[in-house]
Symmetry: C2
DNA sequence: CTGTTAGCGCTTTCAC
DNA sequence: GTGAAAGCGCTAACAG
């Protein structure tokens, strides 16, 4: 194992002290009035020796690691891996690395992952919180750990969040269906007690009531742990209720439902119109293509990282922020009466 | 900011020395003959105080961080995010955290990411190497940095790899098409000078030659930076050559080609049969469903992590391993003559 | 059995 | 302008 090169090695080569090397390599030469030629020499030697600082020592000394943690439900879900990609890109821009973990929608696991990350010295956390983790999030925020909730959030706790205007999005898809002539519109959603599900439901109900279709409101719920069975059950219920359109409230729900509907050979949109959230290959390759609400994921993820880094780098700047982005309806074949 | 609890705090509370606390909390109590009641007390106090070790200090002292780096082309690509998920799960099992980065198929960026990770003190790297990074990989291996190449690899360098038996996989899909009556089978692949592309090509040619169809071998190449245009061009060429079947050599190529074919309203498989690699929503929701070679990704990722950790934890055990897994053909509608 | 001590590599006063 | 020295929190060798 080639010995790692240390500040000491550079100092010896350059005939200066270790502290000078540290100062120069941290771009504090000017401030400390180091002579330019000395600084230059140190930089040259460092480059020659291929110096790379020891992050552990730096972290220990500085009390920060320039690493952020990202907790999502499941990194293999394209929605979250997209988030991860944008988080990574922005973090990199600011010189931060990213630790990721998947929570499997499990509150206890989320808590464990967060503690683990903290123990490993990450400087802050971006989390897509799952049901039941309200207390954890509140606790982290109270402990003054830089934290941003992304995509989902808990109202009433003192923690920053960034998400879609879900109520509006729920309203918009419903409106879209109504305008296309659908009347018996059903919603399939998680039973989650989590704000984004509640808000999408609320938007749906707003639109239905506004159109005088309140009596047609029909909500079927599915359970995370048993997606397949519960989606089958939900679809049966929806069909029995003679719905002419379904709103599939999340990407995962949609993928499961689409498989089932495809097997059942139900004609879309003639027999049943469909709308979803978030996009993805499934929506693009289903026949007909699925209408959906697109989230400005890149902007949201970027903002999340930027706010987090602000919090990290300025500990006086940890006031709660609540940021909502507007979704955009992508109209396609699955929701248009011929 | 609630002050973090240190070994010192526990030591004071429990009326023992810091080192005893360290010994006990690192499960070395038995070995050092610490009295059980003392050990118990220390553990109790640690729990009460909610002690979490400072990872930076531990890393600095121990020279290892229990963190591994994962470099893939693009974490938002479902193929890679699946790998990430399995890597994460196995790493977690062994108490390791995961840093991830996307290389964008860029060798210079890969090098930068790897150096960055090393500087940050990761203990080892799992990398899906991109074209042009042979020297980098060889260099890392020579520097004795624990390293496993996953999915792709460079032959002739002294570095472990885990991948599919790509030649066999290329052979199998081709055979499958031939057996289903297709004769003018074309291959769309990266122009990459990377082994897995070459091997899939070789397998394709093996099967074609074996069946006396050598004169029908037709390969169109696409370029990573400009997938859309180059896929359009490739498909035009393939159609002009009057192919009756296409092998799409990677997931990304397939998704791009499927969109194009879908726009062109070419009837699959009557006019053109299709086979792909790796699966995904696109293959499941395309009509008809796409036949593909499934890689045992979970097993491969798990093995990659395990070998990496072995290398990390036993520096005498760094001999090169070359492990290949067999793919499995998933036959579906896109490759069966009615 | 338990405590003292010496660093891991780095940054940062504080003298000179 | 530059260097010596202390110390971040932890582990492990060595005394006692």
């Amino acid at each position: 194992m080639r010995k790692r090169v240390l500040l000491k090695d550079i100092a010896e080569q350059a005939n200066v002290s270790i502290s000078l090397v540290s100062i120069v390599l941290n771009d504090k030469a000017r401030k400390n009035g180091v002579r330019p030629e000395v600084a230059e020499k140190i930089r040259r030697v460092a480059k020659e020796l291929n110096y790379a600082p020891n992050a552990a020592a730096k972290s220990l000394r500085e009390g920060r690691s320039r690493t952020i943690g990202l907790i999502v439900s499941d990194i293999s879900n394209p929605f979250f891996s997209n988030i991860a990609r944008h988080v990574e890109r922005t973090a990199e821009k600011y010189g931060y690395a990213v630790h990721f973990s998947s929570s499997d929608e499990n509150a206890a696991k989320t808590a464990m992952l967060a503690e683990n990350m903290i123990s490993r010295g990450i400087d802050g956390i971006i989390v897509v919180p799952c049901e039941g983790s309200r207390d954890l999030i509140a606790d982290l925020a109270e402990r003054n750990i830089p934290l941003v909730q992304l995509d989902r959030f808990f109202p009433g706790i003192n923690a920053t969040h960034i998400c879609l205007n879900n109520r509006k999005a729920g309203y918009d898809v419903t409106r879209h269906l109504i305008e296309n002539g659908y009347r018996k519109i059903s919603m399939i959603n998680y039973s989650f007690d989590i704000q984004h599900a509640l808000d999408r439901n609320a938007g749906y109900e707003d639109a239905m009531n506004e159109a005088g279709l309140g009596k047609n409101i029909f909500k079927a719920t599915v359970t995370h742990g048993k997606m397949e069975e519960s989606c089958i059950a939900a679809i049966s219920k929806v069909i029995k209720a003679q719905s002419d359109a379904i709103i599939m409230s999340t990407n995962t729900i949609a993928i499961n439902c689409l498989k089932i509907l495809s097997d059942k050979k139900i004609r879309i949109p003639e027999e049943l119109a469909l709308v979803g959230f978030d996009g993805g290959d499934a929506f693009d390759f289903f026949t007909p293509e699925i209408t959906y609400i697109m989230q400005p994921l890149e902007a949201m993820a970027q903002k999340a990282v930027e706010i987090l880094i602000e919090q990290i780098e300025d500990s006086t700047n940890r006031f709660k922020q609540e940021i909502e982005y507007e979704g955009k309806l992508i109209e396609r074949g699955s929701s248009k009466k011929s």
